[in-house]
Point group: C2
Chain length 466, copies 2
């Protein structure tokens, strides 16, 4: 269990009073509201803040941070609480800024295929609002997260293999810094060589350097044609080798999702997928022109056959596709339904694709040896995969066993030249892998943190300890 | 003229003696060698260092910086000196580290489509060495620059429109920091959400935060098919509008290069391009499968016709293509040949594509009003274009006139939501636009510089002044 280190709390009462004076009812100290803001969707114990303030503007965020800076009070940004590694937990209490009401899309520029929005806009809201423009925002981490939260954790998801991650899809940001100053990073040009890449520095900084309040986001044209396919394989390695061959052939595939036999068992039941076996399975999606989609599908079909995939059929039927997408999105709930009374621990790693098969097969063997139920799903085109580990409630033997499984899996990823998290972020849960992964580079991260947030008020004790 | 501020030089003799003791003959104080290292290819007056050291390893760079840190001596990294904005000029003298002998390709991983190399490898050397692997490195800024220099200036070039810039094509770096410590940033996984994006922070930092000594670089499969086309337009706006329409149609074009009438005049003469008129012209290149290249070419042909482009013909003939590519690469020399006795000033800006036509047309009018000869070439798919301004030798009236033309052009780009440099970088030449472009964000850049390089020894007086 993570130590919440409440001992290091100072007395915040003066600062909290100052905030209450300005924000009145919107500065909540209600115990339930604070409790709801003390955790994301992950397994890490809730750590409620002392106050939650629902903000409407960048200026309000600036006001709050200015006061928190004066009184040295921790400040945590909160979107809709879908993070998995304890990113929003208030380790030392303090003030949580809830940005969910900052949900305005400020500008859509169809000609430039970009938009500007407030950080509290969710990805489903954005795509709903874009539906008449012919454009869409592709990044899809599964959860209906806020764009601000996705930026802060450098999120990606099912179609990053084609469209990239948040890192590649943000042009610029408005950020409120640790002293309350508001800056704009980046711009609207597609590229720039003018100075330090502050945009990329704040993306993935998990609120530890400043709070992202607005985002200039790249959009993409809705493809003229979309097709999808499913294929099942005799074993995990054959499925993964197919994925690797596809990537190495530079087929511009839009989604290539792995579900192992355990996950398929869960999804067949939960999402009523008919006609599938409990075998390692790849879901494919192709975007492009009619010709290109056909060509991609055929090439993938050939590769899939070479690795023993069963009868490969592709379809442009959107009903089939939506059912598959939905099943993929519901993989978490399906996995959970394998043992409804247990808790879930979701974790992810990412490795170079040449090591993916070995890393996955070793991890699968490791799971089997633990006896835990832990379905695997993966964005395998990127070398990224997830475990959903089911453990008894409370933090008994299964929890401990799961934690050591996660430890081994992360160290394995790092030893394969990979990373302890492809997309979930570090938060609290993965802090102890950072030195293993980054070695001496950690001191540069600490120098940056110290210079941008000298009082360590911005989401303290996340990513690394000072 | 830029003030070289030699007044702020300290006495470096003790530190230089310590370096000479370690490096012997490789620590050159020869006046000619120092003079050759005092400038890139740009117009900014040479500012020689006091010593040039030719290094062979990261460890040697670390040794040098450790001593320079101790004696507070400026340290400047030098590859092959192709930069354009005074990046390598030794404003306050000091030690230039020449990395051109660190030109080893350390590892090529065909399965992961990446490689690791020393910073002194040039892009032509890399592609030559890769020729049997089926892979290539696409970023092509024209000059045969080193990969280290390209990383440090966030370079891009003709096919960034498809393959991205150095920002998108680097997985990780080895960097020697201002205190001599060596760190490794990033990794080999395709994506990661583990901590601050130090890789992106060093890319484009122009040697002001540390010296990049090794690079983990993404590679791409050589396309199965390549075709090219040329089309000429009645006026600049029609050419640009064609480019914009292509981008907005999401055609995955690999190159879309604009040459204005003046540049065409120069290139027809210099590169012996037969059958072309002195009119605004687009060069196109398509990468993909046979079908996809055909489809892309046809779609572009249709769009081009709509905007009054002349007879659009595409060809898969590599001889034609190489001639066009060569002509594009030689645009600089062709432009220069319009008035061989004059000096050249090359400058670039980048704007959102919706503003590109207006920005280009206004700039063209501005050039005409000055009476200067200044051909335009552009990577218009990215909203990026260049002027090559020809001015009398010495720094008389034409030079002054060119400088104010550049000022207006940069302020115009910024007012259009763009940037003062799409790919050349800031160096000395564009420092005064930084505050206009980035506003309050400059203080965050300064905080970072101060924390990572507290003695201001790393390429001082570049990008911004402290």
């Amino acid at each position: 269990m993570v130590d919440s280190s409440v001992n290091s709390r100072r007395d915040y009462s003066q600062g909290l009073a100052a905030l209450q004076e300005i924000f009145g009812d919107r500065a909540c100290v209600d115990i339930n509201i604070c409790a709801n803001h003390g955790h994301g969707e992950g397994y890490i114990q809730s750590m409620p803040p002392d106050m939650v303030i629902f903000v409407n503007s960048t200026e309000e965020i600036s006001q709050i941070i200015t006061i928190c800076n004066q009184y040295i009070i921790p400040v945590i940004a909160f979107g809709v609480g879908t993070s998995l590694e304890g990113h929003v937990n208030a380790v030392d209490g303090g003030v949580t800024i809830d940005l969910s009401q900052m949900n305005e899309i400020l500008q859509v520029n169809p000609q430039d295929m970009d938009c500007r929005l407030q950080a509290g806009v969710t990805r489903e809201q954005l795509n709903h609002d874009l539906r008449t423009t012919g454009l869409f925002f592709p990044i899809d981490p599964g959860a209906n997260a806020t764009i601000g939260g996705m930026a802060a954790t450098r999120a990606s998801g099912t179609n990053a293999v084609r469209y990239g991650t948040m890192r590649e899809n943000i042009l610029g940001l408005t950020v409120v810094c640790a002293d309350g100053k508001v800056i704009r990073t980046g711009g609207r040009a597609k590229k720039s060589a003018a100075g330090y890449d502050l945009t990329r520095l704040f993306i993935g900084s998990e609120g530890t350097l400043g709070i992202i309040s607005e985002i200039q986001l790249k959009l993409h044209p809705i493809p003229m044609a979309i097709s999808s396919a499913v294929c099942q394989y005799p074993d995990l390695k054959s499925a993964v080798d197919t994925a690797i061959a596809i990537i190495q052939s530079a087929i511009p595939i839009a989604r290539i999702e792995l579900l192992d036999d355990v996950q398929m068992k869960a999804s067949i039941q939960y999402s009523k997928l008919e006609g599938y076996m409990e075998k390692p399975t790849l879901f494919f999606e192709f975007h492009g022109s009619d010709n290109s989609v056909k060509e991609q599908s055929e090439m993938v079909g050939e590769l899939s056959n070479e690795f023993g995939g069963n009868d490969f059929k592709w379809s442009a039927n959107s009903e089939d596709r939506n059912k598959l997408r939905q099943a993929r999105h519901n993989a978490y709930y399906a996995g959970k339904s394998l043992s409804p009374n247990r808790d879930c621990i979701a974790t992810d790693i990412c490795v170079p694709i040449s090591n993916l098969a070995e890393c996955l097969v070793e991890t699968k063997k490791d799971i089997e040896q633990t006896g835990l139920i832990a379905p695997i799903v993966g964005h395998v085109g990127d070398g990224n995969f997830h475990l959903l580990i089911l453990v008894d409630k409370g933090q008994g033997e299964e929890f401990k066993c799961a934690k050591s499984l996660i430890n081994r899996m992360n160290m394995r990823a790092i030893s394969f030249g990979g990373t302890c998290t492809g997309e979930h972020g570090v938060g609290i849960g993965k802090k102890h892998f950072m030195a293993h992964e980054h070695g001496d580079a950690m001191y540069i991260m600490r120098l940056i943190k110290k210079s941008l947030d000298p009082k360590n008020i911005m989401n303290p004790k996340k990513i690394f300890d000072m």
